[in-house]
Symmetry: C2
């Protein structure tokens, strides 16, 4: 049975309550669990930074098992950026650790009366609320270092930087990687702001003495792991991801798919693409001391991540991924990969979302605050946020607010949140996901290939969103599953082997559909009508070079997405 | 027949087209007409500052007639602040002039490719688009003076200040008063930003040679005017308004009704009330050279307005009203009426909404930017907006964005727009209006008196909103109609006499209901679900001293408002 404990951390009264997960949460994990808890426990029209919002950390149903790449961690909350439900999802070892500790969810509730900051320490015995002595005002690299020095090198740390303390909407929750660096993030829609509003500077997860969760049908499980390993060895896409990681695909997206965000979404292809992604750029970086093929959690067979070192060989950043290179690079006309890495390092340290940042700085160009290609100015603007200037207060709220402050009407946002690095004028299916996904993200249903008809784009988005709702509920890594090339039927067998069940593919698809409907219910109750499911008008009328396509999925087809 | 011309001003191609109003607009005017045009012509999910939004100026159905106080001017648009439909409504002579010119609406459409600013001149012959030579960068008092020097002292001028040029969400459209001063405003939800986005710095209305619109049943009409005059002479409320204007009621609202916004909505009563409103304050001002009993349009029998002079007797501002004194005064803990008048003058000159400003500065106190009672700092913060600093860019977006920029979750806004000066914890009916009014304002349905039950509060709001939709569609002044004490049956007779019709009271009530439903349709299509019709949570749980009431109308009763 998929049972476990729920740790409720009451930040109003500074008390922790450990509950057994109720039976109705049995087959809910990760994204599915956060959606159910949010709908049950959080008033949908409350203020995102108020005491009634909750921050729900939930590993997936397979977390702590021996299945590879099953330790992604979800966090759910009402977003200060969109006003709707938001789920973010990160790699790193934290999810696995929670799975091993038998924790289905950590729920941060309430908020302290004063501005005191706390650290939550989670162990086998439960959780404790500790003072955050000396951590206030520090950013993520310093906080992670400090907390690992105190609590041991093997703990996972989830932490917010100073923008999170100030509740900037762009603030992330950084997650330490296998080396203890806060290079990964629960990034989008303001989870760091919500954590700041709870008075929580960091969560330390110590799984000392915890053990992996054994499969009920051990033999079948072992066989499935073996099959999966073979699949990865033989699948061409999986091979490319293993060799080059996510940044590897950037040149294809630029030069073949023509859906890269370039210079504030004015082109789909970038002349500097090979300098910031693909084989060539990765070869250049690795020849100068950077490492590719890094795993973000133990047991990963894909190892798509990286460690980037500067030209002198010093650690600069880790987990430099496609979205970062695309939005902090191409979207700003910047083709200097070291500058992009430095920007991403700054974002990781302050705890700021690379995607929102790249789009916001694109808007900043339109506002006359910087020019395309000027990485020094881009870095200066990131520092405005980190250093809490008035300009930084604007930028830190993201692209939509920056556009408002500067009177700009061409804004690449959807429901107030920046558009990811897949231009929907080519990727119509991804565009449908942007419109309809209640959690408002590309990872909730990416459809990279152009579809022959708009109806097929809607259908492709629907299937991708259902599958991803399952993947995100199990804690699986979409990248390790090669953008869903690994069959969902096999995933069903993994669940059955782990839990000794007999679900069929349709049962699991129904779980995915139920997650989407649960999420959408929150948004409708929060005041977001179907009319909010629309892309900005410029995408419908500015043809994107070189394909010269526009986003032409009719509103009626978008609304009909929900007929399932 | 209530026909007339529609002037379409195409700011993309810089062309004016004059159309006869189509038959289906026959019985639509003012607010009702703007709602219909917006629903027919403006894509509800378009960007408020984009080329598809329209700015619809429409006088009421009685504009230009001989009925007193029937010349209010409506403007409608999709609001950059709320994302929904917005109507603002102002006194001054402009509406009468348009009525006399036989103009049912001026519709500003499209936008220029560059940032050039224009002046629209409206005359008996139609409209012309003129260059705004030398006006860019000037604020409203200078612009109005300049344009009256060029076009004659008798023209009405609608103008935006520099924040409007920059498309600040708080930007108003100033309207000149009987003395040619830009003391009145189409104020709320960002009409000045939308006018700025159209490249229109000002509209000059010259009604030379135009004549009042004669009533079809002249005798009955004269009789009704006489009856109305008698009603005003005999009605106690009308007498108070004539004597003291709108500021007159402030002490009652503070000391008896306990629904004044005080120190960022933390109290309903203000110890300095008699210094900033009521008999005493008005006596003080008039004894030092200010004038009360000023009419904002010719023929007004109530003359609720004023001209405020400084202690040396120099003109300071005009039309200093209740909302201004309440929100720039009590809500900021400021009891210096001259300081409040100076702030309001600054707002009028820059073209900024007093209501949004007062609430924003209340939030600024919570953000640590100023202290209650510090009028010098308040003036400095208004100047930040006028002078376009980065802090001004934040404040200029209003209370909701300011709260976001400073991480504040207790925010007196509804649908992203500042709450007016009637605390809904006492005025439950007004609170229902705040929640449900699609145009999002207190004037759309004020219910000052506390109602015995929440159901009665909903009912009172409903009737008030229906009546106000009628009043705003006719161009009548709610104040001159003594907050609707003048019977709607009589209003029906006025329409019949003017137009030679035989509507009954129910016909006219249906017109009001239709306006509300028309407006609500736009919001639903724009993406605002019923969940958006909610007050901020602090109003439901922070008891308001001294009544210690909260806003306790259940969500279900609020949603049931629309069952009609």
């Amino acid at each position: 049975m998929a049972s476990g404990r729920i740790l409720r951390v009451d930040m109003t009264n500074l008390k922790v309550v450990v509950e057994d997960s109720p039976p109705e949460y049995e087959w809910l994990g990760g994204r599915g669990l956060m959606a159910r808890v949010l709908n049950r426990e959080v008033p949908p029209t409350g203020h995102p930074l108020g005491k009634y919002n909750k921050l729900i950390f939930a590993p997936g149903l397979l977390a702590g098992s021996h299945f590879p790449s099953s330790g992604r961690l979800s966090v759910g909350f009402k977003s200060p950026m969109t006003g709707g439900i938001k789920e973010c999802n990160s790699g790193g070892p934290a999810g696995q650790k929670l799975g091993r500790l038998g924790i289905k969810a950590i729920i941060l509730e309430g908020q302290p009366a004063d501005n005191t900051l706390y650290v939550i320490k989670v162990t086998k015995g439960g959780a404790a609320i500790l003072p955050a002595d000396g951590l206030a005002g520090l950013n993520n690299y310093a906080v992670a270092k400090e907390l690992r020095a105190i609590h041991g090198e093997n703990v996972s740390v989830l932490t917010i930087g100073t923008p999170g303390e100030r509740k900037a909407s762009m603030a992330t929750i950084a997650c330490t990687d296998m080396d203890g660096m806060p290079s990964r993030a629960l990034a989008r829609g303001g989870p760091g702001a919500v954590m700041g509003s709870k008075g929580v500077k960091a969560i330390v997860i110590d799984d000392t003495e915890a053990k992996p969760v054994a499969a009920k049908r051990a033999e079948a499980f072992r066989e499935l792991v073996k099959e999966y390993a073979t699949f990865l060895d033989e699948n061409k896409g999986a091979g490319l991801i293993r060799a080059y990681g996510q940044m590897g695909g950037l040149v294809w997206i630029s030069d073949r798919n023509h859906s890269l965000p370039v210079r504030n979404f004015t082109s789909g292809t970038f002349e500097g693409a090979s300098k910031i992604g693909g084989k060539e750029a990765i070869g250049y970086l690795t020849s100068r001391g950077s490492e590719w093929g890094i795993a973000c959690m133990s047991g990963c067979l894909q190892r798509c991540s990286n460690i980037v070192r500067d030209k002198e060989g010093n650690y600069l950043t880790a987990a430099l991924e496609y979205e970062t290179a695309a939005l902090l690079g191409a979207n700003l006309g910047i083709d200097d990969i070291y500058a992009i890495a430095a920007m991403s390092r700054l974002d990781d340290d302050y705890g700021l979302d690379d995607i929102e940042m790249g789009v916001t700085l694109g808007v900043a160009v339109a506002a006359g605050l910087m020019n395309f290609g000027d990485s020094n100015k881009a870095i200066a603007l990131i520092n405005e946020i980190g250093q809490d200037t008035n300009l930084g207060r604007i930028l830190g709220e993201g692209a939509a607010v920056t556009a408002r402050a500067f009177g700009i009407s061409r804004v690449p946002v959807i429901k107030g949140q920046a558009m990811p690095a897949h231009d929907p004028r080519v990727e119509h299916g991804t565009g449908v996901t942007y419109c309809t996904s209640p959690v408002n993200d590309h990872t909730a249903g990416p459809v990279l290939m152009r579809q022959p008809t708009t109806a097929q784009a809607v259908q492709a988005s629907k299937q991708a969103q259902i599958d991803m709702a399952i993947v995100d509920s199990l804690g699986l890594c979409m990248v390790a599953f090669t953008d869903r090339a690994y069959p969902m039927k096999k995933v069903t067998e993994v669940i059955n082997a782990q839990y000794g069940q007999d679900f069929n593919l349709d049962d699991v698809q129904q779980m995915g559909k139920a997650v989407l409907k649960e999420e959408r219910a929150f948004n409708l109750n929060a005041g977001l009508a179907p009319g909010a499911d629309r892309l900005p008008e410029f995408l419908k009328e500015e043809p994107l070079p070189p394909s010269n396509l526009v986003f032409d999925v009719p509103d009626s087809e978008i609304d009909a997405f929900w007929d399932f």
